[in-house]
Amino acid sequence: MRQGSQTAPEVQIVAFKLEEEEFAVDIHQVHEVLKLVPVTPLPQAAHFIEGVINLRGEVIPVIDLRKRFELPAQERNNQTRIIIVEIEEHNVGLIVDFVTEVLRLPAEAIQPPPARVAGARNELISGIGRLEGRLLIILNLAKILTMHAKIALEEVIPTPEEHSV
């Protein structure tokens, strides 16, 4: 409220890590961040669906983003978090290695996903944010969660040439 209209438009994001890459989701999609809770496994579900948890009486599915991006499993530790996001009016949990921080980025620091040629998966990214040398890949969660096909990590990470564009 106080900021008025003079301030440049900003985007708030929640940043988190998977392997060495830093990802982010729009804060408007994030309901809360939980420490790891027991997850009830779902037989026969897609392999990246870890299971379901009880979020204040609501049963919601939890997705292991490492598995979603075909990364090797990693020991869960006290930094592992479940980010509860709301997508298309439904809550979903995302298991991530750790949540780095909540960031404000000027809107101009966010670029649209780079156009790529063959095997393009740029629909999985809603933008790329840059902040003091960091590269934050802002995920298009709706797409990532509803797509049936496998997604390899490389498919959501821009190549070095694209970084420099």
């Binding site: 009830t40 037989p43 026969q44 392999h47 379901v52 009486g57 969660l145 049936h148």
Partner: protein, 681 residues
């Protein structure tokens, strides 16, 4: 208005159903007194459509209403063509509701039909004795029973003692009496609204003592376009006439002071006044509104909250036991009783009579029977049986399938029936009744029954069974084949059914509702399909079992019995593990393996739950049986696809999420390779 659209659609649907039902009943029995009900429905529909600004719908409903009025008064005779005309009207209204925002595209259709309805009103009248003056249109001025301008009612004769007393009192208080004459415009649509607005204006200046026609008749639009009111009040400073004429659609308003005691005013209209009560089309008493319409989302929310409450109650009770305080225990007992009552009260809110679904079938069967040229009588019973709203909403499609199937190839043509010496009339019985915690809906016909040989051949052709299997197959087993995709009960494919889609869809739909389908058929005598549905979907009774570290809930309706079995009781036949239960050989599955949750540990004996669903029976070996529990079913949320064998989840008192198994799905899924399925590519 946006927010009211859903309500409007829901109510319109209801009124259209009422009209359809009444029409069909009238068709069967023209002497039946259904006009009043239809009239009321058409009238309400018109009012709503008018308020919402759907003038085409309002206009069409208006013509239907006018004709109904004529029918009701016996001025026009009812006949099959007339019924068809009304059904066309219903269809068109239906079309308009389905295309709420593109109604203008139907203008020509609506106008054509309106014209036909109007014509009917005139032609019908030609049958009447000559001395009755015709009223070509409902809206036309000056006919029998209606008042004409200047022919004011003989108030004196109309007033009862009480009203006279009121007038006398008013005069004593120095008030004056006025007669107010109001004439609406010829094209006025919502006459009752105009009446209401007039009364609203008058409310501010005095008291309406009497109306002619009566206020009730005015509200129900049982008047042409003119009416008189008797008002007491002090009007000197009020430009009443101006105020009234400012109301939209009012053509003329006239104010005349009257002296009620001195002179019986308005000569020449005596014969109108006294009889008015009788000549108004049957005074229809408006049923007192005992219902409240609630958005279903709100209801669902309430049910959910009660579900939460029950989960927490269970938890609190557990904690209470640990504490062991006497006062606390008795309070908790109270809490338990109240929540249980609350739960059942809330559940009844979701219950609606199956009539809501059944009502659309008479029309459908009638149309189908005309199309197929087979005489069919649909006999409905038990329509007051109540079911959970969600189930009601989803049971319609399977029933449509079954009824279409019945008409299309269950039933025979008249000649064929006569040849066989059967009653020439085809009959379909649609019924519903309670059976324990279930409702059974059955669709039965007295047609030719299911040709099992044809079914078997079809299944063979589609590679569903082998030739040897076909030979060995008994009648009951062969009958189950109709529920397989691709197997039709008919030899020929028609546009209605017989393409082999249908029965499998019926079965899937019913099983999704945690219900079962049974079929009985006697060649030459008919078939009977029975859908057994749970009363509610929100809460089910389950048996809790443990497998490894996980617990699962198995719906008790799928459980036949529980038993313990030693490892040597398990045999292997053709690579599959089986157990023998009273000479019956049953496949045995370790639930943990079935759910791909690792291998079971070796035990001295196994607990086996014998389950049956979808025509298959099997044993599930589990580590432990933990007892029965009522659970609230929750969906697994979006983004979780194709979980064959899982019906949903529930949250236990301690917050743990437990999966509820779908036994039919699990047994069905045995043919699939689960490993493949999880690699969703």
């Amino acid at each position: 208005m946006e927010g009211y659209e859903d309500l409007f659609l829901a109510e319109t649907q209801e009124y259209l159903q009422i009209i359809t039902r009444c029409l069909l009943e009238t068709e069967k029995n023209p002497a039946g007194e259904h006009f009043a009900e239809m009239f009321r429905a058409a009238h309400s529909l018109k009012g709503m459509a008018g308020t919402m600004g759907y003038e085409l719908m309002a206009g069409l409903a208006h013509e239907m209403e006018s004709l109904l009025d004529q029918l009701q008064q016996g001025k026009v005779a009812v006949g099959p063509d007339c019924i068809n005309l009304f059904l066309e009207g219903v269809d068109l209204l239906q079309l308009l509701t389905e295309n709420l925002h593109q109604q203008q595209g139907f203008r020509a259709d609506v106008e054509a039909l309106q014209e036909r309805l109007r014509l009917w009103q005139i032609t019908g009248k030609e049958n009447l004795p000559a001395n009755v003056s015709p009223a070509p249109k409902g809206r036309q001025t000056g006919t029998e029973g209606t008042l004409q301008e200047g022919h004011a009612p003989a108030w004196e004769g109309l007033l009862n003692n009480f009203e006279k007393e009121t007038l006398k009192e008013a005069l004593q208080q120095g008030k004056e009496i006025y007669q107010i004459y109001v004439r609406l415009r010829r094209d006025s649509f919502l006459k009752s609204v105009r009446v209401y607005m007039v009364l609203k204006v008058l409310e501010g200046v005095g008291e309406v003592v009497k109306a002619e026609p009566s206020l009730q008749a005015l509200e129900e639009e049982k008047f042409d376009r003119e009416f008189f009111l008797l008002l007491v009040g002090k009007l000197q400073a009020v430009p009443l006439q101006k105020l009234l004429e400012n109301i939209a659609e009012i053509e003329k308003a006239e104010l005349t002071p009257v002296d009620i005691e001195a002179r019986p005013f308005a000569a020449g209209a005596g014969q109108n006044g006294g009889k008015q009560g009788k000549t108004t089309p049957a005074q229809i008493a408006r049923p007192v509104e005992k219902m409240v319409r609630v958005e279903t989302a709100k209801l669902d929310n309430l049910v959910n909250l009660v579900g939460e409450l029950i989960i927490n109650r269970t938890r609190v009770l557990e904690l209470g036991k640990k504490v062991g305080d006497a006062q606390l225990s008795s309070t908790l007992e109270q809490l338990e009783r109240i929540t249980a009552e609350l739960q059942s009260a809330v559940m009844t809110l979701r219950m609606v009579p199956v009539k809501q679904v059944f009502d659309r079938f008479p029309r459908m069967v009638r149309d189908l029977s005309l199309e197929k040229n087979k005489k069919v009588e649909l006999i409905i019973s038990g329509e007051e049986t109540e079911l959970d709203r969600t189930i009601i909403n989803q049971v319609g499609d399977p029933l449509v399938h079954l009824l279409r199937n019945a008409v299309d190839h269950g039933l025979e043509e008249e000649e064929e029936r006569k040849k066989k010496g059967k009653d020439p009339l085809n009959k379909i019985f649609l019924s519903a009744h309670h059976e324990g915690s279930h409702v059974v809906i059955s669709v039965e016909d007295n047609g030719r029954g299911i040709d099992l040989q044809a079914v078997k051949e079809r299944a063979l052709k589609k590679n569903i069974i082998s030739r040897e299997k076909m030979k060995r197959m008994g009648a009951a087993e062969a009958l189950q084949l109709i529920f397989q995709g691709g197997v039709s009960t008919s030899r020929k494919v028609t546009d209605v059914s017989g393409r082999g889609v249908g029965m499998d869809v019926v079965k899937t739909a019913v099983e999704e509702l945690h219900g079962t389908v049974e079929v009985h058929s006697v060649p030459g005598q008919g078939s009977r399909f029975m859908l057994r549905l749970p009363l509610t979907l929100a809460i089910i009774r389950t048996l809790m079992v443990r497998c490894g570290r996980e617990m699962y809930a198995i719906p008790v309706e799928a459980i036949r019995e529980n038993l313990f079995i030693e490892p040597q009781g398990i045999r292997t036949i053709g690579g599959e593990q089986v157990i023998t239960l009273r000479q019956e050989v049953l496949p045995l599955y370790f639930l943990q393996e079935l759910l791909a949750q690792g291998s079971p540990s070796a035990q001295e004996y196994y607990s086996v739950v014998v389950v049956e669903a979808g025509g298959k029976k099997a044993g599930f070996a589990v580590d432990a049986l933990l007892g029965q529990q009522e659970v609230v079913i929750k969906s697994l949320g979006r983004f979780v696809y194709d979980l064959q064998g899982i019906a949903g989840a529930t949250v236990l008192g301690d917050g743990r999420v437990i999966l509820i198994l779908d036994v039919a799905g699990l047994l069905e899924g045995r043919r699939l390779d689960f490993g493949e399925k999880s690699n969703d590519h």
